[in-house]
């Protein structure tokens, strides 16, 4: 059953939100969510790559031979990731320093390659853009919210602003890897609970 354009867009924001529903893209999720700012920055970068890659793959879907499609997707995705990296260096250098190696890793982020293969290669341009935007924004929201939880509990701040006062002892565990996994697990738990109702 075909979905409307709006449905293609909206599904990325809840039903098929990575990484909480489509359990994809966990690596950057765990790594960059120490703060809201980094999480959202990564989300925006990934969204840009998703939309551009989906668009180009969709435009070329009748030209790319099936046998070399993965190679072509990677070339396209890697190009846009490099573009994002250069733009970030030029316009948001501190974010570039904070995200570090995880920017080039967007190339192998399962979300991006997955959408190219599962959606953009088979559908026309406008739905592909909607899909990319929806999934990308959903990813950004997910990263932002997990980032908020970890930043709040781990440093007592949100977006760098102290919201807890002096008597709050930060739960530094949340900023480390185990905290990331547990935070993600709890978010998945909450999502499932809300989704069941």
């Amino acid at each position: 059953m075909a979905k409307t354009l709006t449905q293609e867009f909206v599904k990325g924001l809840w039903e098929e939100i990575p990484p909480f529903r489509l359990v994809l893209g966990l690596c950057p999720t765990l790594a960059v969510t120490k703060s809201v700012e980094n999480g959202i920055g990564m989300g925006i970068a990934t969204t840009f790559v998703l939309v551009c890659a989906n668009t180009l793959v969709s435009l070329l879907r009748n030209v790319i031979p099936a046998k070399v499609r993965i190679a072509c997707f990677i070339v396209i995705i890697a190009t846009f990731v490099t573009v994002v990296e250069l733009l970030m260096q030029a316009f948001a250098y501190p974010l570039f320093l904070a995200l570090g190696i995880f920017i080039p890793l967007i190339v192998v982020n399962c979300i991006v390659l997955g959408r190219s293969e599962a959606f953009a290669f088979k559908r026309s341009v406008v739905p592909s853009i909607a899909d990319g935007l929806g999934i990308g924004i959903g990813f950004t929201l997910a990263l932002g919210s997990l980032g908020a939880v970890r930043e709040l509990l781990g440093s007592g701040t949100i977006l760098g602003i102290d919201v807890t006062g002096a008597s709050f002892e930060p739960f530094a565990f949340m900023l480390e890897a185990p905290g990331a996994f547990i935070g993600l697990g709890l978010m998945l738990c909450v999502m499932n609970f809300i989704g069941k109702k």
Binding site: V75, Q89, A90, Y93
Partner: protein, 195 residues
């Protein structure tokens, strides 16, 4: 055969498009990236080694052609005199180039200070070269007339435990910086006088 041709052509065209796009974006952003790097990466290192200067070394800088490359030199004024110049040099580290900002006191020919700018060294080990001030503080006061070496190579710099290669890279970078300065001393001193 036709399938093969199509695959080759598609990939070639795609790769060329990619190359062209990336080259043009790179050219377009080169200037901005240089300024950003200066402010966020080299700036802190420069200010750290020039702490106490009466001027802003990032602002008081000049470019000079050394061999085929154009290098940046940063001036530090102490006690009213422009007597310190900083330049960046690179040493071969464990994970790639280690960028080191080296400040040289031109009055007595010694190292005024050293600070790591960029590196790809192992976190917790070689990366200490950037985080641990007690390593780089060893370079202060060393004469630039002889190569600066780590103790393993007969020199006076104690290595960071477990990170001989990184430590050596920093020492080599300091030596290279001193060499560039000594080889171009007259021109550099001329330029410093204008500040």
């Amino acid at each position: 055969m036709r399938d093969m041709m199509k695959m080759v052509i598609v990939l070639t065209v795609l790769a060329s498009f990619s190359g062209g796009l990336l080259a043009s974006i790179r050219n377009g952003t080169k200037e901005r990236i240089e300024v950003a790097q200066l402010n966020f990466v080299k700036g802190p290192a420069i200010k750290e080694i020039m702490v106490g200067s009466s001027n802003d070394p990032v602002v008081d800088r000049f470019k000079m052609d050394i061999g085929e490359t154009e290098m940046d030199f940063f001036i530090g004024k102490f006690d009213g005199k422009a007597n310190t110049v900083a330049l960046e040099a690179f040493g071969k580290g464990y994970g790639g180039d280690v960028g080191v900002m080296v400040a040289i006191n031109v009055e007595n020919g010694t190292i005024h200070g050293v600070s790591v700018t960029t590196h790809a060294e192992t976190p917790g080990m070689g990366a200490k070269a950037k985080e641990d001030p007690s390593f780089v503080s060893q370079f202060k006061g060393k004469s630039i007339d002889s190569p600066i070496k780590v103790t393993n190579d007969g020199g006076t710099i104690n290595i960071i435990s477990g990170s001989t290669i990184t430590s050596r890279a920093v020492a080599n970078a300091a030596t290279d910086a001193a060499k560039v300065y000594l080889e171009n001393k007259d021109q550099i001193l001329e330029k410093i006088k204008t500040f």
